[in-house]
């Protein structure tokens, strides 16, 4: 019998909320990065489609703009703002870390073996990014619902 070596946990390993409790804020940032990346991609495609209506004349263009002039539309746009800010901020953190900066320096490990790559600088960046995304959403809603 051929031995199965490729067992995987699957989507549960991504979406199970208990993972975030067990693996910390960095795991939440990872999940949000995926979700906002995909969300922005979907928005981007929808956005190209919506703005392509400009080719169909003013009446059609005005009508397509009205789609987001509702309460649900405003909430949707606020979500897009939040996704943009989080994805950009966290993306910059990741690019810096993934070039090998801000993750500590290799040294002789000593008990209790605290990993240096999971540090306060990174956590502060994640919290700041979440805060900025919330602030931008709040400001956006204040303008849209004014």
């Amino acid at each position: 019998m051929e031995r199965e070596t490729g067992a995987r946990e699957g989507l549960k390993g991504w979406l199970n909320p208990s993972k975030i409790g067990k693996f910390g804020i960095e795991r939440l940032a990872w999940l949000l990065m995926r979700l906002t990346g995909l969300g922005l991609l979907a928005y981007f495609i929808g956005h190209i489609y919506e703005t392509s209506h400009i080719l169909d004349g003013k009446a059609v263009w005005d009508k397509s703009l009205e789609m987001t002039q509702t309460t649900e539309g405003h909430l949707f746009l606020a979500l897009v703002i939040g996704m943009c800010v989080f994805h950009t901020g966290n993306g910059i953190r990741l690019m810096i870390a993934q070039m090998g900066y801000g993750i500590g320096k290799a040294e002789r490990p000593d008990y209790p073996y605290k990993p240096q790559s999971i540090n306060m600088k990174g956590k502060a960046c994640i919290y700041a990014t979440l805060g900025m995304a919330a602030l931008a959403m709040w400001y956006g809603m204040a303008v849209m619902f004014a």
Partner: protein
């Protein structure tokens, strides 16, 4: 006739009487070679302040149900055999005290992202294969055994040792691979264990095989699949910090860091 080995049986049945506390251990049972049934068996076992999860499992095996499948060897966080999910988080059974878990019930399950052999024991072939793939040894054309001068050494400064010694603490327990979200979805990802070991040899100035090794990891299911969720480093029991090794290696590959 008396018992054949009175000493041995005495030892086996020796449950510490001073113990006033106990813990309920829920063990996930399955035997995929027989059927697909999965269930939890519960046992109550006396504990002390110093009792580890492995102590509890061995107590269950000695006194309550000897058929529990668990892999272990050193009992001191050195051999890397006893990795399992303890209350949902990957950890070494012999390195996790019941008292530090702060709960009356402890649930143990086999590690995620590995096929189960039986109960808590998993098949680690994939990790070992990937570990081999990154050539975890110093690659040199010349040898430490020299025909003319006899045995010589590849000298190295203490500063150069510091660059990789952290990563050489890896005991191949596989906890990092079971915590990694990329491993959860990607069947062919090299995984944090092997990537950290690739960096361990690339950071070693005696090694002359860097390009060979980089070719193995610089591919579509190699290093670029790491998204720095950091979960590998959260669970590593030896301070290897594989996530650090991977990002340093990426910096090296990008030509930004040396």
């Amino acid at each position: 006739m008396a018992t054949i080995h009175p000493k041995l049986s005495d030892e086996l049945s020796q449950t510490v009487v001073s113990s006033t506390k106990s813990v309920k251990i829920k063990i996930k049972r399955s035997n995929p070679n027989v059927n697909s049934e999965q269930k939890f068996d519960d046992f109550v076992v006396p504990i002390e302040k110093w009792t580890t999860v492995l102590d509890v499992l061995l107590d269950v095996k000695s006194h309550l149900d000897h058929s529990v499948g668990v892999r272990y060897s050193c009992r001191q966080a050195s051999c890397g055999s006893c990795g399992m999910k303890i209350n949902g988080k990957p950890g070494l059974a012999c390195f996790t005290k019941i008292s530090e878990l702060d709960s009356d019930t402890v649930t143990v399950e086999p590690m995620d992202n590995y096929p189960v052999v039986r109960d808590l024991a998993v098949n680690m072939d994939r990790m070992i294969n990937n570990h081999k793939k990154v050539m975890p040894y110093v690659i040199r054309e010349d040898s430490e055994i020299d025909a003319e001068s006899g045995i010589r050494e590849f000298l190295q400064s203490p500063e150069n040792v510091d660059k990789y010694i952290q990563f050489s603490s890896c005991i191949k327990c596989g906890l990092c691979n079971s915590a990694c979200p990329t491993m959860a979805m990607d069947k062919t990802f090299v995984g944090p264990q092997a990537l950290a070991q690739a960096y361990r040899y690339i950071a070693d100035d005696r090694d002359k095989g860097k390009n060979k090794r980089l070719k193995v990891i610089d591919e579509s299911h190699g290093i670029w699949r790491c998204h720095f969720a950091g979960s590998c480093s959260q669970v590593c029991p030896k301070g290897v910090d594989p996530a650090m090794g991977i990002q340093l290696l990426r910096g090296y590959l990008l030509g930004i860091r040396d």
